[in-house]
Amino acid sequence: MIGAFNLKKYFPVRGGVVGTQYLKAVDNVTLTVRRGEVVGVVGESGSGKSTLGRMLIRLLEPTGGEILFDAPEEEMVKYREALESGDKESAEMISRKYSLLRKKGSELRKLRTRMSMVFQDPYSSLDPRFRILDVIMEPMISTGYLRGEEARKKALDLLEEVGLPRAFGNRYPHELSGGQRQRVAIARALSTDPELVILDEPTSALDVSVQAQILNLLKEFRRRKNITMVLITHNIAVVSYMADRVAVMYSGRLMEIGDKDDVLTRPKHPYTMALISSVPRPRPGEARKRIVLKGDPPNLLSPPRGCVFHPRCPMAFHECGWTAEEVAEDINYLVQGKYYNVFGDNVKVIPLQDKVKVEGANPESIKKVLEVERENIRSLTAVKEVTEDSLLIIHAFQEPKLYKESERRSVSCLLYR
């Protein structure tokens, strides 16, 4: 149905001492959605999931990459292969035919009837000066899908379909409750009979009891009309209820994608594991292992090198992208704290280019500490060797790509190379 290939969105951040920097909101995301499928995109705030959703229907222009719309599956596969092998010519051929990014003017407007979006906050996504009926008719009229009396009739039918009385057509958004507004937003999204609907956090602003109503409504529509959906949410339980496939994002990158049951019950990427284990469950007293991640998601202006997740990853190893600064910080922490009795006061830890200098310490005792702490403090795995003069050499790193873990799942982690 729709395929995004190496999609990128960099937002410029001007000012500051360093000049213009780029915030990599979405970086090299490849995602294909088949017809009739519900793909859930999960991630924490700032992971780029909303930006991705907006790019998919061209509410935002991507900085780079390609989106193919309504291309047959073979063509998508061919395009991906062409990209991987560097066959520019055949990639160009396919992209000319299906590219959403090359569509302009009336052609794009026509495509707009085939895709739509439901936003998170039903309080700000409906124009307070429009009557409900006008809200629902607006997309039909602006794309020229239907007009006049026909559009009116369709809008009234839709109201009924989303479970609201027809009389609501003459009301204004402020007269409706949150759940009712979200129903209106869904009716508006469905007004041009789209094949693809992007749902951006459709239930996060609603109460639990109403959330269940909306989710069931969406499920019902999906069954009846075979609509393809991309469901963007931070709520993993919602994704597990709605989606067929799940894509997990972190810091603008795709971490793992695969069938819902695989990803949610047998996660492979360390981040997905931690994410799923930290979802609270309504089972008091249930004994389970929760992986609590240290620290916070990284600053996207200067993301960590190598794998973006490595500084928080409990399974990271030597090639994940450790820098001298990261290693130095952890060693300093050990030297000052836990191993203070071994090293004393006069040790200085200085990060250099891909090396860490530990002044005033005996290389043998450093080696011993590394040996013991390696299991817990993952950055220490990056130390390749300790030289005679207590210089710690750091391993070279590798950028992880999306690796096929099995037929239906890809994971962006070096563990699955």
Binding site: E44, S45, S177, G179, D207, V208, S209, V210, Q211, A212, Q213, L215, N216, H234, N235, I236, A237, V238, S240, Y241, L264, T265, A274, L275, I276, S277, S278, V279, P280, R281, P282, R283, P284, G285, R290, V292, L293, D296, P297, Y333, Q336, G337, K338, Y339, Y340, N341
Partner: protein
């Protein structure tokens, strides 16, 4: 269950009724809430938006806005202190409600409650960015909380550290190592160095550093002497001259400076890396999880008995939420504090609470131990709520039809009657009373009373 009964009540709420007078009518936010909180427990307060759970939190703190009328009820701290007495005396009178008059009372109440807040009660709000002051350093905000509630603590800390000698510290260190923490506190009293013990213990209780390092840090406490300006400031404070314009500033500066030291200790305790740097930062420089830790730090710095947390994790991501929940559990374990944890997310409450109260339309629908509430809920609303929460293993969600009633004119009888599948004629006529079905498990529904 037995243990719950033994515990002392720290807070008791009796038949609390609060309504908000607005231009669009009188909203009855709380309609007769009875609840108690025991020492050392986490009470989860669940409910949808508009159920009155936040209003209840604010009412306990005495932080109601001017248009809130306390119609009846009591909030008893430690079984005696009636927090809302002043407002209730006005609100229960049968006169036309005047928000301006109420506001004056609230101002008086605030002055009176300054004593209580901080030391007995503290609150953590949902959005950490709005509850922190953006133009003040994090350390200052923690220091200020102590400065206003317990300035003498800062004075004691500063003076005791200034007075102690290396010999004192060595002796105290041996006492601590051989006889333990209580003996240390006694020894400190004996040497007239009160205020030093918390500084020693905050280092001693750290988990992240080696014993030798702790010892060294404790022994170097006497190196941090006061400079002449701070000494002057503190002596001004002790002579009661803090209200004199210029001198007052000197006194406050000295005490706040001491507060920064305390802030570093608190932040270390809360697991914030590089606390010495963080206290000099402004809220916008911190991430959401760190900000929430700072807010929790401000709440617990005065060692309150009760901490009310209003949706403390709702604005955070799941992985950060997990960190904060972990922190709350460890705070509960390490002290005998009681928490009221308000959340709309039942799953979060299942993780942290000992007991749960479910609110609906300004009343408690059901209250009981967590296990009972999740495994054998009795109230139809609780049951339906459980079926409506999406979880990772559910394949079907049963939505609750309809929506919350308009609180300007709540329905007669049971407020859930218009959405309840088991509704009976009498539900529309009378309000169901709270019935105790088992030890500590109370339900407000006729179905339960019937069966008994």
């Amino acid at each position: 269950m037995e243990r719950v009964k033994e515990r002392a009540k720290v807070l008791e709420i009796k038949d609390l009724r609060v309504s908000f007078h607005t231009r669009r009518g009188v909203f009855k936010a709380l309609r007769g809430v009875d609840l108690e909180l025991y020492k050392g427990e986490v009470l989860g307060l669940a409910g949808e938006s508009g159920s009155g759970k936040s209003t209840l939190g604010l009412a306990i703190m005495g932080l109601l806005p001017r248009n809130a009328r306390v119609e009846s009820g009591e909030v008893l701290l430690d079984g005696s202190k009636d927090v809302l007495k002043m407002l209730r005396d006005y609100g229960s009178r049968d006169v036309k409600f005047d928000p301006r008059k109420n506001e004056k009372l609230i101002k008086r109440l605030n002055k009176e409650l300054r004593e209580v807040r901080g030391r007995a009660l503290a609150m953590v709000f949902q959005e950490p960015l709005t509850s922190l002051n953006p133009v003040l350093q994090v350390g200052y905000q923690i220091a200020e909380a102590v400065y206003y509630h317990d300035p003498m603590r800062l004075v004691r800390r500063a003076i005791s550290r200034n007075r102690c000698t290396q010999a004192d510290l060595r002796d105290l260190m041996t006492t601590l190592k051989t006889k333990g923490e209580e003996a240390l506190i006694e020894e400190v009293e004996k040497r007239n160095l009160r205020g030093l013990e918390e500084q020693i213990l905050s280092i001693w209780r750290r988990q992240d550093i080696h014993e030798a390092k702790k010892e060294k840090l404790i022994l170097s406490l006497d190196k941090h002497k006061l400079d002449s300006k701070d000494r002057l400031g503190i002596s001004i404070y002790l002579r009661g001259l803090q209200r004199v314009p210029v001198l007052g500033r000197l006194a406050k500066d000295a005490l706040i400076k001491e507060g920064y030291r305390l802030a570093v200790e608190i932040l270390t305790y809360l697991g914030i890396p590089h606390p010495e740097k963080v206290v000099r930062m402004y809220p916008h420089e911190l991430s959401g999880g760190m900000r929430q830790r700072v807010v929790i730090g401000i709440a617990i710095v005065n060692n309150p008995e009760i901490v009310i947390m209003d949706e403390p994790t709702s604005a955070l991501d799941v992985t950060i939420q997990a960190q904060i929940l972990e922190l709350v559990s460890s705070l509960k374990a390490s002290s005998n504090r009681s928490f009221i944890f308000i959340s709309h997310d039942l799953s979060v409450l299942a993780e942290v609470s000992d007991r749960i109260a479910i609110m609906y339309a300004g009343k408690i629908a059901e209250v009981g131990p967590v296990k009972v509430i999740f495994e054998e809920p009795q109230h139809p609303y609780t049951k339906m709520l459980m079926d409506a929460i999406p979880t990772m293993d559910k394949t079907e969600l049963k939505a609750i039809p309809g929506s919350v009633p308009d609180m300007r004119s709540p329905p007669k009888g049971c407020s859930f009657s218009n959405r309840c599948p088991f509704v009976m004629p009498k539900c529309k006529e009378m309000e169901p009373p709270m019935v105790e079905v088992s030890e500590g498990h109370k339900v407000a529904c006729f179905l339960v009373g019937e069966r008994k």
